[in-house]
Symmetry: C2
Subunit: 510 residues, 2 copies
Amino acid sequence: MSQGDAELPATPKLRATRLRLHTQHQAVVIMRTDCHVCRSEGLASRSQVLVSSGGREVQATLFQIEGDDLLAIDQIALTETTWKILSLDEDAAVTVTHAPTLESLASVRRRIYGNRLDAHAVGSIVRDVAARRYTDVHLAAFLTASAALPLDEQETIDLTGAMVDVGERLHWDSPIVLDKHCIGGLPGNRTTPIVVAIVAACGLVIPKTSSRAITSPAGTADTMETLAPVDLDIATLRRVVEAEGGCIAWGGAMHLSPADDIFVRIERELDVDTEGQLIASVLSKKIAAGSTHVVIDIPVGATAKVRGEASARHLAERISAVAARFGLSATCLLTDGSQPVGRGIGPALEALDVLAVLRSAPDAPDDLRRRAAALAGAALEIGGKAAKGEGAAAALATLADGRAWRKFQAICAAQGGMRTPPRASHIHPLIAPRAGRIVHINNRKLARLAKLAGAPEAKAAGVYLNVSLGQEIDKAEALLDIHAESAGELAYALEYARRSPDIIEVELSS
Amino acid sequence: MSQGDAELPATPKLRATRLRLHTQHQAVVIMRTDCHVCRSEGLASRSQVLVSSGGREVQATLFQIEGDDLLAIDQIALTETTWKILSLDEDAAVTVTHAPTLESLASVRRRIYGNRLDAHAVGSIVRDVAARRYTDVHLAAFLTASAALPLDEQETIDLTGAMVDVGERLHWDSPIVLDKHCIGGLPGNRTTPIVVAIVAACGLVIPKTSSRAITSPAGTADTMETLAPVDLDIATLRRVVEAEGGCIAWGGAMHLSPADDIFVRIERELDVDTEGQLIASVLSKKIAAGSTHVVIDIPVGATAKVRGEASARHLAERISAVAARFGLSATCLLTDGSQPVGRGIGPALEALDVLAVLRSAPDAPDDLRRRAAALAGAALEIGGKAAKGEGAAAALATLADGRAWRKFQAICAAQGGMRTPPRASHIHPLIAPRAGRIVHINNRKLARLAKLAGAPEAKAAGVYLNVSLGQEIDKAEALLDIHAESAGELAYALEYARRSPDIIEVELSS
């Protein structure tokens, strides 16, 4: 089909202005309904547009505004996400056109209808996601489709590889580079800072990058941030690890697997976690971080993320198989997921538990100490610092003699200086309804309680447990304390607790 | 679990200001990061908030802004969607709190994981959707889940009923209330205005409400809007139908099945249409409109929406079964879907075809005349205005003697006055690459071409076909003309045409 000559549109330019409007991952720009670009391009509200300036470009959702209160007719307002991607100066000239058709959305549609995707299709999707070309609707559709028909092993491998390919990748000189991860679902259980301190104190290399919470009241990065800066760039992370052997940094700041950071926000909004996405998320970060060996904690319990031993073993096998395809050796430990580990749930409250264990404080939670020692012990055995079966004991010794605590302080100093975790302004106890024995703790509801209290956004917020399974308690004793940074959040959490008598169940003693 | 006394937060009030920002269905409000409500409530960007004033409330996504250029510390800016729902005055006091947890999202999650939903669960989802409590992420997840595991008959019935229940419902005195619908997928095929004119001219009642385009270059409402106002409220629609027996109105303006209007926007963004959603969408509108009998056109063709006769029969059976559960009788006609019907594709270009048929113009597209007569004929037989097998002939007679044209003019006048469809400012031919015979027309690519040219938002935009299947054509003759309202859109359409030599295939004549 030939077309003869068509008049081409003049390049549609506008002056950029920074709005300092925070829209999170959603890239948004605002233009006048009556501006020449909207009219000549036929743009409407919620059109997807391509905004370009100085060789950079970003795809964004257009909102249109009427009248000249906010914008002159030749101005475009950029929200923080778009402003930073384009690195603009005020009044810079930007070009706005219709966003090009995303060919990869055809693959998303095929996946919705139950067709498996090959590496090429998955790669195209992930590249468009990382370039922020997908809207929330597109992202949610892809994640939902890969939950409805779960990703198979090959798709998980392809997704993992594609997520590594679109980000930065670290390389280390050491033949063994250790890493550690917990599958999650268990409130508290903040072993990572302790494990890194022990492993690094024993002379091994463990450049740990962690995520923020997806659906939990705190991620390791959220907790660690109350103790030291975690937004390290790659050069800083390298300097910390070269000096101290280990670090505990937020992975998102260094663009390891950037597509994951976008997927994670949508998963949080949906409150959906799927095996394939979980594996790709975890392993893409580890591979990108240059790890050779990773120890993975899989807590198993009725209200943990993994509920039975069979599914835990399946997950462990799938993780090991996918990891092996990238030359990464994964050691999975199935652990007790019947109740929280440690007493704090929420960033700062978990940090206090970590400090207590590292300092060998008399009231340090022993379950957290033992869990961290088991995981660190596996790493010490892999790294040749302990004989087979003797790793946990070696780890406990490193805690007991203060080496781990000194190493942790050195790491915090190297990351930018140790901090004191904040304390909540509103603390309120939940009182036992009767005297008796603690027979059940619902991890999911406990996590929800901590989140309603404000965790993880409110660092000091969360729940501090006073009881554990099997313990005897008197009437009018506090089962737990709710910590909140605002009266509103405290009220929400208390309202939820009032409606949920089964968060912690107390049975009359016989 | 008891809780003792908790201090309750003071009601968090702000002054409302109207931003005149258009965000389509996405309800958005903007607040200062440092305002007392954000701080006391622990709100962050993209928090879901509940905004209340004067007994009305709306759930919205919060974007936060820094600095005092746009807002004073005690102000909240509302986008048009939120402003109109709350019916506010400038500086009205509004309350902002965390949005409550949506219990129905648990059902969405269960559906993602492959569990069927019961009527109660579907009802809860649809009520939250209609109340605009779902974010784009939630909406896309629900629609994707019901595409990945298609809705079964019971779920489709439950969804249809739930969608009727959340909207207005019309009642008519007539024992037979006719309706008409086309499943779509065929560009052009704008029979509805013709069918309504014929059926009403014969003395039957046909209060037709139509939708705007989902994924096509024009919906009936888009086309009809170029001929007369279609945004009728229920009182006006009733007056038009009582006077003339029929109308062609946009359904969205009268809140029949309002959840459908929200689903449709997301389906458009995903470019996904599923059987269950399709049936619920069509039938909920018909049931809400008070119809007793509906004639449904199912075009079948390799590049139409329904590609084979078997799936067309399955769809027809499913439609009839679901309709019957609501006391609605559905008559499905399987029609030729191998090529467009009529010559125009796009709102105004289709309107010109409609006018030509109604006026019995010499160059009126005969395929459109015959298709409309077949559908109107089925309605005339149902309504007892023609004997079995003689409906189409009776319909053609109504066109030939001018009764249908006079009725159509009367309906347009009653709806607010007849209009002349706009003409495009940019028209460009696509020239045949060689002399020969037209052997294939790709409906999907033709529709895409019309959309890239600006349809349906640009009313005059689209494609005007000069050829049909089997026709002989000379080299350098125009296969079609592209109509656009802007040079940019014309350029996009031409660029697509250049990349797609198979939109219309010409074979050398033997």
